[in-house]
């Protein structure tokens, strides 16, 4: 029988023993997120309110235990992993939508609210919550805020940072403060802009006031099937150049089609090279006119077929292949490594060619699904971790793909975050002075060295050989350390 440590006992005293998880077998589930890294927390604490969060952070600080905030654990950069052990503060019990103010188009929510649940509640008021990451059925608003999550529909409306107005934040020192304002009129620094996307390294958001947008009166989704990725990419460029800002502009490639078709019955021809999804929304007449225009552009690039739908159910069917893509990859291989590079949109065709070349060289199947409209690629390298050396090959290939994105004038992550996974690659795009300035911002939020440690910045002391640091070091040595955008 395991005996509770002094830290565990104090946490139990603070929030009750039904809210503290510390037996080894119960901790297992908290070792993972959506990446291939692992972390080993000592204890999980599940706060019920803001005071709990503050108390938990103070107790952890007193014991010198690292703190790692966690939402649904769907993250794709290792942000919710306890890299140095310590306490994971799981926000799942704070999951109330506290208020929807339809007239002012805002919602007040707790961080454990699931993204899709907020979307559904907003819909009841004729409104929408724009950021819609593909994991929206599970991921939480708190996690979305930490990672500045995107999603297919952020092309027109922007990512999470454009939609969070104010937050109640418990900083790394345990202090509680509301920052921001309903209409962004609080004088002073844009603290909310600093917190969104800080990957849970400066504090824990315990309430958020988010902006809702008017729900479009009409939506039209179009799907076009192409015989080459380049044709599909050229169609993307032509749509964007036409002056239309689609609500979404997504692409999947042949390998993804092969994965989704048998599971989701999407009706995609298995020998097609690319499927493009374009959605336009807004007032009825706009959707009608823009839809017709987009369709005629899509047809200029010799698609095999173009499908179009305006009613909800049929549109969902067109989306199924994109939204279910990641889940379907298990059809092909048991494991995947999902990258998140972002490049200027016009560089997409060349960068995709390079991605295919790299994958082939490393003998790895690659499935591509991506936000074509904003140049955000998600190459998915498929492998079986039981095969000796496979994980190493995947990590090396991943590093090369990130490098291609950087060399094309892009960045290493568009919406998943740096986290544990990409921290050693940050010097490819930022100088020491740039990173020092970021660390200065972090320091302003209190004693943050123990707060979600080992994330974002190249590994410091005590972060050990977490994950694939070793491979990152090799890749960095191979390509030279710096390639500033």
């Amino acid at each position: 029988m395991k005996t509770p440590t002094a830290l565990v006992l104090e946490l139990i005293e603070a929030i009750g023993d039904d809210a503290v998880v510390w037996h080894d077998e119960d901790l297992l589930v908290y070792e993972y997120d959506g990446t291939i890294d692992r972390g080993n927390p000592d204890v999980i604490a599940l706060p019920a309110d803001t005071d709990d969060v503050s108390a938990l952070i103070r107790i952890a600080n007193k014991h010198g235990a690292p703190v790692t905030p966690r939402g649904a654990g769907t993250g794709l950069s290792g942000g919710a992993l306890a890299a140095r052990g310590g306490v994971i503060i799981g926000m799942n019990r704070m999951r109330q939508i506290l208020n929807v103010d339809a007239e002012n188009k805002t919602a007040l929510v707790q961080p454990g609210v699931v993204n899709l649940d907020l979307g559904i509640e907003a819909e009841r008021h004729g409104l929408a919550y724009a950021p819609d990451p593909s994991s929206q059925r599970a991921c939480t608003i708190g996690g979305n805020i930490a990672e500045n999550a995107g999603g297919p529909h952020t092309l027109a409306w922007g990512t999470t940072t454009n939609h969070v107005l104010a937050v109640e934040l418990v900083t790394a020192d345990g202090e509680v403060q509301w920052i921001g304002h309903d209409t962004r009129d609080e004088p002073g620094y844009d603290l909310v802009g600093c917190v969104v996307g800080s990957e849970g390294t400066v504090g824990i958001v315990t309430q958020a006031l988010v902006r809702l947008v008017p729900r479009p009166t009409a939506v039209r989704t179009m799907l076009a099937v192409y015989d080459s990725v380049r044709d599909a990419s050229n169609a993307v460029s032509a749509v964007v150049a036409s002056g239309i800002v689609p609500a979404a502009l997504e692409m999947i490639d042949k390998m993804t089609i092969a994965a989704v078709e048998p599971v989701l019955n999407t009706g995609f021809p298995l020998d097609a090279e690319a499927v493009l999804l374009v959605e336009v929304d807004g007032p009825e007449s706009q959707v009608e006119a823009e839809g017709a225009r987009v369709e005629s552009i899509l047809r200029r690039f010799e698609p095999r077929e173009v499908r179009s739908a305006t009613d909800h159910e049929k549109r969902e069917h067109l989306w199924a292949g994109r939204k279910g893509a990641i889940g379907a990859l298990g059809q092909i291989m048991p494991n995947y490594y999902l990258l998140d590079g972002v490049v200027p949109r016009t560089k997409l065709p060349d960068v995709l060619d390079a991605v295919y070349e790299i994958a082939e060289r490393y003998r790895l199947p690659v499935a591509n699904m991506f936000h074509a409209g904003d140049g955000n690629l998600h190459p998915c390298l498929l492998f079986d971790e039981r095969e000796p050396g496979a994980t190493a090959r995947v990590l090396d290939a991943g590093g090369e793909i990130m490098r291609v994105c950087v060399d094309a004038g892009g960045a290493i992550t568009g919406e998943h975050g740096v986290g544990l996974e990409k921290r050693d690659y940050l010097p490819w795009i930022f100088t020491d002075a740039d990173m020092d300035a970021m660390k200065a911002l972090r320091a302003a939020f209190g004693p943050t060295e123990n707060f979600n440690p080992c994330k974002i910045f190249p590994a410091g002391h005590g972060c050990g050989e977490a994950g694939h640091q070793h491979h990152a070091q090799q890749q960095i040595a191979k390509f030279g350390p710096k390639a500033f955008v």
């Binding site: 920052i179 309903d182 609080e186 002073g188 620094y189 990409k422 911002l441």
Partner: protein
């Protein structure tokens, strides 16, 4: 302290080799709240700014950055002010990729020069700012506010994707990049946007862009009273959420905007509606809005204009178009609370004039010939429950300190002071002009 006093023996004097101005009469234009610097540095590139800041820091000289000076009226009087750092010569396009819808420019480029460049490719940066032919991108980003169309477009923070800055000690850094979506590292560009030049000098900015809409339409409708105009504008904003501008003007504001070039306006309370997109869509949105306006009881004729930019810019210019001795106030609050807030202001202010209300986003401007600090404090107290934030846009220096331009610091003050200490520990940049003495 003057530049020559600051020089220590054996070291070159500050700003050696840079283009500077030290004649008192030529320095007059750099005065802020009546305080003149002892020197102005005219930077032509980033390395000039690096040297200027390194020299100023070493000599413990306080620096005020200058762009187009359209908003130097904003903020508390500087606690110290030794050197002006003029960035207006840094006005080049660094990199423009029309097909990627991104542009990188130097901080001293004016908004109108940028829009002209972008218009060649049918693009634009959707930011409104007073006096766009003078206002620089660095300056308007440092002020960091959304304008009259913020309901549709947000503010500079929402369009910025990258930034280069020079820190107080002269170190150049960058944030973000040139891609429209990027979460690599902390979003320092958002920290610097709206920091009023108190953390570092913004020297280069990268924005994402929008295609110009196929159709852009404006309709003006007169109302019997300003209250009627305001009520109708709220109704329009509620009914037609895809409007791209929904403004109520008082009669004197409309007249002033007319004098500034908005020929569609006359001296009468007016609502101005704007919609864009494809022609059919813009027309649909405006007709939805119009039906709400009619239902709200306005029966005046619809006046249309083809002078979209001139009309809108004239209204935007009103934000800072106030006789010097007058006080211009800005209030931001949830739009549903506008009517109540307007009544409070009407009650407490002496001869309030030139009202502008953006009914879709909860933004209000008003001016008054004079107001005392107690009245401002009382207004702030009473606006608190309405979530209103009242700032003084421009005022005679003697009112600024007692009335507190920014109002009491919110709960974030502690973090803001920490940030300032991290980025500008010796208070070299714009000392004392920002929130809570920052």
């Amino acid at each position: 302290m003057s530049a020559s006093d600051a020089a220590s023996p054996g070291k070159p004097p500050p700003f050696e080799g840079l283009d500077t101005i030290s004649e008192p009469d030529r320095l007059a234009r750099y005065a802020v709240d009546g305080i003149r610097p002892s020197v102005a540095v005219l930077a032509t590139d980033i390395s000039d700014v690096e040297q200027a800041m390194a020299d100023a820091s070493a000599a413990d000289m306080a620096v005020v950055p200058h762009g187009g000076r359209t908003m130097q009226c904003l903020g508390m009087p500087p606690q110290r002010y030794d050197a002006a750092l003029d960035l207006s010569r840094m006005n080049r396009v660094v990199d423009y990729e029309p097909e990627d819808f991104t542009i990188t420019v130097e901080a001293g480029m004016t908004l109108s020069a940028l829009q002209q460049q972008l218009a060649i490719n049918g693009q634009f940066l959707p930011l409104d700012h007073p006096h766009f032919e003078q206002a620089t991108l660095g300056g308007l980003t440092a002020v960091g506010r959304g304008g009259l169309r913020r309901n549709s477009f947000g503010g500079p923070r929402d369009w910025l994707i990258g930034m280069r800055m020079v820190q107080a000690d002269g170190t150049a850094i960058k944030a973000g990049g040139k891609v429209v979506k990027n979460v690599s590292g902390y979003d320092l560009a958002k920290l610097f946007a709206g920091s009023l030049g108190t953390l570092g000098i913004i020297v280069e900015l990268t924005f994402k862009l929008r295609p110009q809409p196929a159709s852009d339409q404006i309709i003006a409708i007169a109302a019997p009273t300003f209250i009627d105009a305001q009520r109708a504008a709220r109704a329009a904003a509620e009914t037609a959420p895809f409007l791209n501008g929904c403004i109520a003007l008082s009669a004197d504001a409309a007249a002033e905007a007319r004098a500034l070039g908005a020929r569609v306006l006359h001296e009468e309370p007016t609502i101005v509606l704007r919609a864009n997109g494809l022609e059919s869509a813009a027309t649909e949105v405006l007709s939805q809005a119009l039906s709400a306006v009619r239902e709200a009881g306005l029966d005046g004729p619809e006046r249309r204009t083809s002078e979209i930019v001139e009309t809108w810019q004239a209204i935007a210019d009103l934000e800072s178009q106030t006789p010097k001795e007058h006080v211009r106030l800005r209030l931001g609050l949830p739009p549903a609370n506008l009517a109540q807030a307007q009544v409070l202001l009407e009650e407490h202010l002496n001869n309030p004039a030139q009202w502008i209300i953006a009914a879709d986003s909860g933004l209000l401007f008003v001016s008054t010939p004079r107001v005392d600090a107690d009245t401002i404090a009382r207004l702030r107290r009473e606006l608190g429950p309405l979530r209103g934030r009242l700032t003084i846009e421009s005022a005679p220096p003697e009112l600024k300190s007692p009335a507190n331009v920014w109002g009491p610091a919110g709960a974030g003050a502690r973090l803001m002071h920490n940030i300032k200490k991290q980025f500008d520990p010796h208070a070299t940049l714009n000392p004392g002009r920002f929130v809570d003495g920052i």
